[in-house]
Symmetry: C2
Subunit: 305 residues, 2 copies
Amino acid sequence: MTAILIHEVGPRDGLQMEKAVVPFERKLEWIRGLAGAGLDVVQVGSFVHPAKVPQMADTDRLFAELRAGPLRAGVVLSGLVLNEKGLERASAAGVGLLCMGVSASETHSRKNTGMAVAEAAARIVAMAKAAMAAGTRVQVSVQSAFGCGYEGAVSEERVLGLVRLYVENGITNVSLADTAGHAVPDAVARMYDNVYALSPGLDCACHFHDTYGLGLANVWAAMRAGVTQVETSVAGLGGCPFTKIAGGNVCTEDFVHMLQRSGQRADVRLEALLAIANDVAAYFGRQMPGKVYKTGPIGAAGVTA
Amino acid sequence: MTAILIHEVGPRDGLQMEKAVVPFERKLEWIRGLAGAGLDVVQVGSFVHPAKVPQMADTDRLFAELRAGPLRAGVVLSGLVLNEKGLERASAAGVGLLCMGVSASETHSRKNTGMAVAEAAARIVAMAKAAMAAGTRVQVSVQSAFGCGYEGAVSEERVLGLVRLYVENGITNVSLADTAGHAVPDAVARMYDNVYALSPGLDCACHFHDTYGLGLANVWAAMRAGVTQVETSVAGLGGCPFTKIAGGNVCTEDFVHMLQRSGQRADVRLEALLAIANDVAAYFGRQMPGKVYKTGPIGAAGVTA
């Protein structure tokens, strides 16, 4: 069995959803802790306009400070870019894995970027190729890959069309993101089967939200289909606390707990993740979606009584 | 694909965990509603000593009233029995599916029944055979099938040993219950593969708790392995609200939502289940574990925005 690679996205996908801007020093501590716990990739932030997303305004500074150390050797720091200006900043910041994406939904694409899917895809592919030519590792995602909050169902063919375009342009690391939280395990299994049929050697990631209680079910379905990169968020950050649609990302420590109970990734320090999750919950002063930080893991001897 | 049969256990496994005794009329309303929503089997209660479990004291009376109607035609009313006295009462009550079980964990078995596993198994198998001989449908479970709150790990061989004993005694409907909530999807898939290898035609059920966020993941893994009966609880009832280990049973309406998003069981009225879940939450005055009753289902057009 291939080792599962864990990509922590809480500091980006989680904190950008929070109204409160988390102070620089606190973010630094959390990111260092997440890296130190043994997670493989940590997404530090997003290179967006600081006036538009003040939660992400310190992304360049975080990269500078993190790269100066102390930082666990081997951890990859990833960052999200949306446009050419962001790509420029990310290159200057020394991002280890550059993440970018295109929505498979026309409405979502237009609302998010002002562009139709085809136009957005051409632009992102050009950015990805430029970054790869400069020697940077790149991951390109299909957003709204399992449904759209505006349009509802998104056809599998639209998703596969984007994947095909990526592959044709030499992109080897592709993430499917369930932006709206609509995925169900049957659809996940079918989609990845089709993706691998299209490109057997593709390095695939998955990104799910737990809005309807299906987060880990979808992850497991993706893993069974062959996915080896899983994007998760400490404490289950990433839901919107101001709407009743509260589901965050799949929770990192709950996922690690599942893996370790399945005999995988014993190298990750679950206790360190649980301490960070508790700190995150205390910081925001509310219960977070994660379960294991509340219940405690099943003990070393498996005893909970 | 075989249709998935939904066995609602909230009125029994859920309400027996609640400190408050739910009044007879309210239970009646919930059970009729759950049956009316299109669930296949509803577990009405447990034939235990009323002084020991006052929450279940009205089980005989519930059966009498429910069988007198009005009740959706075709729904099966199940009941749990622990001993010969309970079996007698259940037979008199006209239970449609008689449920009984043996723990695979010695400690759990002794604490629950005062008997070692082998002794408890002999007694339950004798009861099951007597009931079957009298023409009653029977389901026998293996409790603590994926781990024990006292002992930790439970060996797969112990579980399979009980299943073998059941099969040898003509029992054709077997449920594996994750009493402690320790199951992970890998273990679930492996266990049911082994069960079906032992007895290819066996009618298997699964029963999971969502303590560590794995409820629906485990259910899906079981379904992929061939399980066609799933035990769930409305609103996710079944956790213990007085400890920090709060995970209830897999939530009925969240499961139905998943099935319907996967193109199955369109006959079940999800809105009716959500109304009952809301009523259950209002009755107990606390947030229940179910997700979809809080977020709302993905709309008919798939839109949540």
